[in-house]
Every structure is written in C-alpha cells, then in structure tokens.
C-alpha cells in the first residue's frame, strides 16, 4: 500500500510549486526563448559577439550601411535557419507530448506511444536503402510515421471494449510490427554506406535544416502547434475520463481521435525534419506543469515556449560542445533524462 502511494506520488505531478500568475510565467518563458536564440546566434565553432549579430540584422533592415560578410554568412546561412527549425520542432514535439499525456490520461506517455517513431524510422530507412534523395527520406519518414499510427488505430478498432486500453494495445502492436520491419531493412542494408546512413539518421539532427526545408515545413508545423495550443482547454475535460467528459458535453468519439491526429501529424513532421529527438515531448510538459500548474489551458502555451527555447539550447550544445558535432538526439536524450530526475525529485519533495 505504501509502495503504491509512493508510485502514484511520483506519477502524479504536483500543482504549481510557485504560485505565480500564468501570464508572468508566459512572459518570462518568452524572454527565455529570445535569450536562447541570441545565445544560439552568437555561440558556435565561429563565435560572434552579440554586436556583430545585431549588425547583421541591422544591415538586413537597412539600418546600418556597413557589411560584415563573414558574420552575415554564418548567421544567415548556417545558424538562423537551424535555430528557426529548432524553435518549430521543439514547440511541436512538446505540445504533441502534452496532448498525448492528457488524451491517454497518463503523464508518463511520450509521443511515440502509438508507433509514430518506429514507423518514421522504418520509412526513412526504406528511403535510404532505395537510394532516395534527402527529400525522399523526409517524405518516407513522414509517411512511415502516419502509416504506423494508422495501423495501430486500425488494430485498436478490431479489439473488443474500445477506449484507451484498446488504443494502447493497438499502438503496442503497431510499434512492434514497424520495429521488426526497421530491423529487417537494417539487416538487408549495405553495411558499408547504407547502414551507417540509417544509424546516423536515427540519431536525430537539425544540421540538414536549411531555408528550403523551412520554406515548406514551417507553415504546417506552426499551424499544428497553434491548433494544439488552442485545443488545450478540451484536454482539461477529456483527461477526466470518457464518461465524465461526455457528461460535460464533450464528444469523446470526435475529440479524442482529432487530437491524436493533430499531435501525431506534428510529431511526424518534426521527425521528417530532424530525425528522432527523444525526451523533449516527455520532459517539457512536466516542467511546464511545475511552473504554472496542471490546467492545460495555462500550461500548453508555456510548454510550447519551453520546448522551443529548450531545443534551441540543446542544439547549440550539440554543435558547439565539441569540435565536431554531436547528434542532437543524443544531447536531448542525455540532458532530458538527467533533467527528469530533477523534476521527479521536485515532485516527490512536494508530496512530503
């Protein structure tokens, strides 16, 4: 019994640790995002002073006449597109994770629950093996992710009982199928060049993100994230359970699949843009809950901001900690897991 209580006290995060108004936290988080972007623009293998960075933007806006060609190349060609990609991917993954956690009424769920990751990995690996271009690999990942979730949902429809349990089981089976298929593709891949390419892709990185990717990814990704933030109040009701949500006038049969589809699309797009970036979707919602409490209508905007800023910082670490580049997926996994320990300790301490 004591054990059970302990476990539940870990799983159930506590209310706001510091009672500050959500609006204040939101503006603080926004400031944090801006600061992290400035840091990311300055730091890297070729460090730039903030003054030179501002000079580049000043020139762009025709405020200053002098040109700093080196700084301009670093900022405009290398860093800025990557930072914008990190902002988009970070917020989409975090909001997707928070939505999954609420829909499945489980704070330990991450966006890969229904198999979007294994499906995307399979799709990308298949595209790499068949010699597709970077664009084909991106499309393969996106399509594979949706295919896997679609399979999981279809399987769950055939299971008796329905509800969350059937969804979980369907996702589990879909996940297993696509993990097996991924292994098959890896096994058949050419070990000299294709297999390393697959492994490298699976580690996740924002390095390939340029203006071209941003041009067609940013619109949909921004729209999906905005939709998830706007829909957040529905999650407050939906997370009460099916009967209670229905008794408050929410159509569970419509809202739950709709939110799953939105969150899955968002995650599939991030994967096709940056590969597999773990832990952001699980960790960031918890941090947001610690700051502003569990109400989704308050925590979702903060989740989006923290995810955006957090991934920008993580990506800055990934490209400037060593002389080479550490894949971003490794950085988020490592720091995410360690940060989760701190979050859980904070939750436990609060239960005393």
């Amino acid at each position: 019994m004591i054990f059970l209580r302990r476990v539940s006290s870990v799983v159930l995060p506590r209310g706001p640790a510091i009672s500050v108004r959500p609006a204040l936290i939101r503006s603080l988080a926004l400031t944090g995002v801006v600061l992290s972007v400035v840091c990311a623009l300055c730091l890297g293998r070729y460090p730039l002073s903030p003054l030179r960075v501002f000079g580049v933007f000043g020139h762009l806006l025709h405020l200053s006449a002098g040109v700093d060609p080196l700084a301009q190349a670093v900022v405009m060609q290398a860093r800025l597109p990557r930072i914008l990609a990190a902002l988009l991917v970070g917020s989409a993954l975090s909001c997707g994770g928070a939505t999954y956690q609420a829909v499945f009424r489980n704070p330990l769920v991450s966006p890969d629950l229904l198999g979007v990751l294994s499906g995307a990995a399979f799709g990308a690996a298949l595209a790499i093996v068949s010699g597709g271009s970077a664009f084909v690999v991106q499309m393969g990942a996106f399509g594979g992710g949706l295919l896997a979730v679609g399979c999981g949902l279809l399987i769950s429809r055939t299971l008796p009982g329905g509800g969350i349990l059937a969804l979980l089981l369907g996702g589990l089976i879909g996940n297993a199928i696509f993990t097996a298929l991924l292994s098959l593709v890896k096994y058949l891949a050419d070990p000299m060049d294709q297999l390393p390419a697959i492994v490298n892709w699976l580690l996740g990185s924002l390095a390939p993100s340029g203006w071209r990717e941003l041009a067609w990814m940013s619109g949909p990704l921004l729209a999906l994230t905005t939709a998830l933030v706007v829909c957040a109040p529905v999650l407050d009701v939906l997370s009460l359970g099916d009967d209670e949500a229905r008794s408050l006038g929410i159509s569970v049969r419509v809202m739950r699949p709709a939110l799953i589809v939105l969150a899955t699309l968002a995650c599939a797009m991030t994967i096709s843009m940056a590969g597999i970036i773990g832990w952001i979707g699980l960790l960031v919602p918890h941090v947001a809950r610690l700051l502003v409490g569990a109400e989704h209508r308050n925590m979702m905007p903060v989740t989006a901001l923290l995810g955006a800023g957090g991934l920008v910082l993580a990506d800055t670490c990934a490209r400037s900690l060593t002389t080479g580049e550490v894949p971003l997926g490794i950085v988020t996994q490592l720091f995410g897991a360690l940060a989760f320990v701190l979050v859980l300790r904070r939750l436990r301490g609060g239960m005393a």
Binding site: L12, P13, R14, G15, A102, R105, N106, P107, P160, P233, V234, D236, V237, S239, L240, G241, D242, D243, E244, R246, S247, L248, G249, I250, S251, R289, G293, A294, E295, H296, R297, M351
Partner: protein, 260 residues
C-alpha cells in the same frame, strides 16, 4: 413534467450471452428523488449510463424531453443532465476550483471566461460541499471522500435539470452521507430530477419520493418508498431474512435472529 424516459430499453454486452437489462420502461419527472436498488451486478450503473447516453442501447430508446436522446447534441444533453460517477480517478493535479469550474463548460464553453452567474454557481457548489478551504488544493492530494465531494460540487455547479448519481455515498464520511441525502432532497424540491443508485434502503425510505428495484435486468418494483422498501421485498431481494421497525417517519431493518 417528464424529463427523462425510456421505452423497452435493453442492453447486452457484445459477444456475451444474456442481456444485462431488458424491457425497461420508465418515465422520470422533474421534482422526483428516485432511488435505484439492486444487487451488485444487477445493472444499476448500466441503466444510468444508458440514460445519460454513454452507452448505446441494444433495444429500445431513451428520450430527453420526449425527443430521442441520440438526436441531442452532447453539449445540449450536458445542460439538461449532470452525472456523478461511482469514483473519480484524478490523473492531473487540477485545483479543486478548476474541477468545479469545469461543471460550467456546458454553459460557458471551453475557452469563454466565466460570467458572474458561472462564478456564483461555482462558489455556491463549493460552499454546499464544504470545499471552500480546499479550493486551491490539487485534487490529487485529496482523500477519496473529499474527491467525491469535488465531483458532486461539479455536478451541482452544472446546474442541470436532472442529476444522475452512481452510488454517491461511496467513501463519504457519516456526516457527509447525511448531508448529501438532505441536499439531494433539497435539489429535488427545487424542481430537479435526482436519481441515484444506492445500497441503503433505509436512506431511500427516508428521503426518496420513488424507489425502483432492479433485479435480473428488469424493474421488479417501482413506487413510493412505503410500498417498495418493505421487509418482505428487501429480504427477497438481498436473500437475508429482515425485520422492519418504523419510527418517526423512518424505517429500520435488522436481521431476523432465531433467539430462544
């Protein structure tokens, strides 16, 4: 006026023999306090969930204000009927106040700000369930009985014309069991339909205006408590020999003992 009714209502689990409920005909009026008695597994909760529209009936139909329930949009049903489940599982640490405010969702929508009327309903419901001093605490930190009071307060804040409660006494301390029955009677006197499932015939005798007995998936008795809650019927229903004792408008049961 009849708020909620059903005709030839039946329910069977898919891929399982036999039906849970069969041929239920009911007409529930505003102002009634209806108690539903039955053994464990008799189908009491199923009947409530059918009446709320959570389950689709296998046969027959439920009517809200004379119109088939499936023709009503979910949000309109929520303005007419509130529901209190047997137990509430709290996953996220919403504050007590937020939980009760969710009862206003059918009226004010999800994103809309709370009107003065919403605020009044919320603070009234918090007060009726003695939750003012818990208002800013997370529901996950409350005991089972306190959480039950939060869900009751939410249903009261919903301000619906019908209130369906599934064993609302579960986990409440003795004082709140007493207060809750009195409160439900008061809500019925205000002109609402209140229907609850219960395992306490004595309480239904004291407060209900109508008692139903559900046995083997059918309504076995339906009438005023004086006629339905009798030692003979309760003995037959629960399979325990009972004696009854009437005192000051109350009826008490005790087990028949073979004393020398």
């Amino acid at each position: 006026m009849t708020l909620l009714s059903c005709r030839n209502l039946g329910f069977r689990q898919p891929r399982q023999p036999g039906s849970v409920l069969e041929g239920i005909d009911l007409s529930l009026r505003e102002g009634e306090l209806v108690g539903l008695l039955g053994l464990n597994g008799a189908g009491k909760s199923t009947l409530l969930r059918l009446l709320m529209g959570f389950l689709a009936p296998s046969t027959g139909e439920v009517f809200l204000e004379g119109r088939p329930l499936r023709a009503w949009p979910a949000s309109a049903i929520a303005r007419h009927l509130a529901y209190v489940p047997q137990s509430h599982v709290a996953t996220f640490p919403y504050t007590v106040r937020r939980m009760v405010e969710l009862g206003r969702v059918p009226h004010s929508g999800l994103t809309g700000r709370l009107s003065t009327q919403d605020r009044r309903a919320v603070s009234g419901a918090l007060g009726r369930m003695g939750l003012e001093r818990f208002a800013d605490r997370p529901v996950t930190e409350l005991s089972g009985g306190e959480r039950q009071r939060v869900v009751l307060a939410r249903a009261i804040a919903q301000d619906a014309r019908g209130l369906l409660l599934d064993e609302p006494m579960t986990g409440l301390d003795y004082g709140y069991q007493m207060r809750l029955m009195a409160l439900l009677a008061e809500l019925a006197r205000e002109g609402r339909l209140v229907m609850l499932t219960s395992h306490r015939p004595e309480e239904l005798y004291a407060h209900a205006s109508r008692v139903l007995v559900l046995d083997h998936g059918r309504i076995e008795a339906d009438g005023p408590p004086q006629d339905v809650v009798t030692a003979q019927r309760m003995s037959a229903l629960y399979g325990v020999p009972l004696m009854q004792m009437d005192h000051a408008g109350n009826r008490f049961f005790h087990q028949e003992r073979n004393e020398k």
